[in-house]
């Protein structure tokens, strides 16, 4: 008698249900975590904020724009705050950058001291 080999034997129903349950229980939180991290661009935001602060600092130094304090909104969605304290032959410049969404959280603060002679102003 010729017997066909049982090659098509599949998973049992219980096996499949268990597999699906485990798969779903892992996939949902995992997907949420991965999605959360992908959407979280804090590193990129910090790099942009740094670039914004450097640009602001360069502009102040190049233009010798030593207004005591100023807050500006950057086109990339940052708030740039400049603080300049002059004493003697130097000016201490502080540039702080925060996000428009969370203005209370400062992303980057840069400080630079430059020489300023009164006859050059």
């Amino acid at each position: 008698m010729k017997e066909h080999p049982n090659m098509d034997k599949g998973y049992t129903l219980i096996e499949t249900l268990v597999a699906m349950a485990i798969f779903v229980s892992v996939l949902i939180p995992l997907g949420a975590t991965i999605g959360n991290f992908i959407l979280d661009r804090s590193a990129e935001t910090m790099q942009k904020a740094l670039h914004c602060a450097e640009t602001g600092m360069s502009r102040i130094v190049a233009e010798q724009d030593f207004m005591a304090s100023r807050i500006e909104n950057d086109k990339d969605g940052f708030i740039v705050q400049n603080q300049v304290d002059e004493s003697g032959n130097t000016a201490d410049i502080t540039v702080s950058v925060s996000s428009v969404r969370r203005p209370e959280k400062v992303l980057v603060t840069l400080h630079k001291t430059v020489l300023v002679y009164s006859n050059a102003k």
Binding site: N6, Y11, L30, T109, K112, L115
Partner: protein, 461 residues
């Protein structure tokens, strides 16, 4: 197996597939876990990278700020300072003479980030340097003939200025001065601050005596053996060496760059920088004999000091300081900004006149200074700027000056002089041109020329 009994064929492959779901799911979970871990690690690294970038910028700004801070106070001697800034960064700064300028080295720190900046500092021009010409001889007139002209203000003695006639030269139809002429009873060249002068001359004296930092146990001094031809290969000097002491007439060959740690090469004899030799950065070379920079040799930011003479041959390119009793720049040689050519103190060149000569179409961007000795200057002390030579900057002679070339900047001269057989002419200009308006606004002078120098960064190294 008996006859008539059905044959059973075992199916081993279908048995193996039984229960494969759990391993496959576990494998999938493992893969997903690895993926999620990779994403987490990537995010962490990106954040760390961003934080490091911020820290690096803060450290860099701290280093620059440290230099600004130390330059903002009057520097009396070698000094070290530490500064802390509002953003938590700090800087350790050191200032010392580098030739006739000041060298500031600053290490900025923020968390684990470090940044080192080195700057050469000069002094801002004061009001004493606003005029195109200060003619310091109050006993006779300043005489213009030929094509001599001045664009800018002139300060002269009470005899004032005039035009004169000389054979083979055209006589100007009107006074060739485009600026104000101010007469003073006794026009004197700006005083040089003795304390500043001592600070910067100590560099020179210590270099020649080889005693600089000799008490410092950390100083590395080498006395390399020289071959029979007297050739010293610059590449053989390691980065840890501070002093190289050489004896005899030495030819220097090869390339050497020092950006952070100064290197002092002391030669007891003559020194020659051979063709195509390149020396860049904080390298000072002092010789008891003559120093020759051959054509094609390049020096950047270096200091060369000779007790006898320095000669820059045709096509030599130097950005640095030449300090010697006699300095000769051949036609075609170039000294780029910020350069300095300066006569040395009289006690170092006793018995000989001092001279600075620009031949042919030599070019100098910087300062040319011939200072008087404590005693009366020798009559041989003279700066000669030949007809096609160009200077952009400042020229000062406490004694004589032959000015036939062009100066874009300022000239302070005790007296002008040239010889045309059979006559010696004092106070005459025949083809020299001075244009104060062409001097770049940020031009800086050696600090010892000022009593209270206002330092500024001359060059970031």
């Amino acid at each position: 197996m008996e006859a008539g009994e059905p044959m059973i064929i075992a199916n081993s492959s279908s048995d193996c597939e039984s229960g494969f779901a759990l391993p496959s799911i576990l494998m999938l979970i493992t893969i997903l876990a690895l993926v999620s871990f990779s994403v987490l690690a990537l995010q962490y690294l990106q954040r760390q990278q961003a934080r490091m970038e911020v820290a690096a910028v803060k450290a860099e700004y701290a280093a620059q700020s440290g230099i600004a801070k130390i330059l903002s106070v009057a520097v009396q001697s070698e000094a070290e300072r530490q500064y802390t800034f509002d953003d938590g960064s700090e800087a350790q700064v050191k200032i010392q003479p580098w030739g006739m300028f000041a060298l500031a080295t600053s290490e900025g720190k923020y968390k684990k980030a470090r940044s080192i900046r080195v700057a050469l500092a000069g002094a801002r021009m004061t009001s004493e340097y606003r005029s195109a010409l200060l003619f310091g001889n109050s006993s006779h007139q300043l005489v213009f003939t030929g094509t001599a002209s001045i664009k800018g203000d002139v300060i002269a003695g009470e005899p004032g200025i005039t035009t004169g006639t000389m054979q083979d030269y055209i006589t100007p139809v009107r006074m060739p001065v485009n600026g104000n002429i101010r007469k003073e009873k006794s026009p004197t060249l700006p005083e040089i601050d003795e304390s500043q002068r001592k600070i910067f001359f100590s560099f020179y004296e210590n270099m020649l005596s080889g005693t600089r930092k000799s008490n410092d146990a950390q100083t590395s001094v080498v006395r390399p053996a020289i071959d029979a031809a007297g050739t010293f290969i610059l590449e053989s000097v390691s980065d840890s060496v501070d002093y190289v002491l050489l004896s005899g007439n030495i030819s220097l060959e090869g390339q050497l760059i020092r950006r952070l740690r100064p290197l002092y090469i002391i030669i007891d004899g003559n020194g020659t920088l051979r063709r195509n030799t390149s020396v860049q950065g904080l390298i000072a070379m002092a010789a008891s004999g003559e120093i020759t920079v051959e054509r094609g040799a390049v020096m950047d930011d270096c200091v060369i000091i000779s007790q006898k003479s320095i000669r820059l041959m045709q096509s030599a390119t130097v950005s640095g300081q030449c300090i010697s009793p006699s300095i000769i720049i051949d036609s075609g040689a170039v000294m780029r900004y910020p350069s300095l050519m300066m006569s040395i103190p009289a006690k170092m060149s006793a018995g000989k006149g001092r001279e600075i000569v620009l031949r042919g179409d030599a070019k100098v961007e910087g300062s040319i200074i011939l200072l008087s000795s404590v005693n009366a200057p020798s009559n041989e002390d003279i700066i000669t700027i030949n007809h096609n030579s160009i200077v952009t900057g400042f020229v000062r002679s406490d004694n004589l000056m032959t000015l036939d070339g062009n100066v874009s900047g300022m000239v302070h001269a005790k007296d002008f002089y040239f010889y045309r057989s059979p006559t010696k002419y004092f106070g005459w200009l025949r083809s020299g041109k001075i244009d104060r308006t062409e001097l770049p606004p940020g031009y800086l002078l050696p600090p010892f020329l000022m009593s209270k120098p206002q330092y500024e960064v001359l060059e970031w190294l």
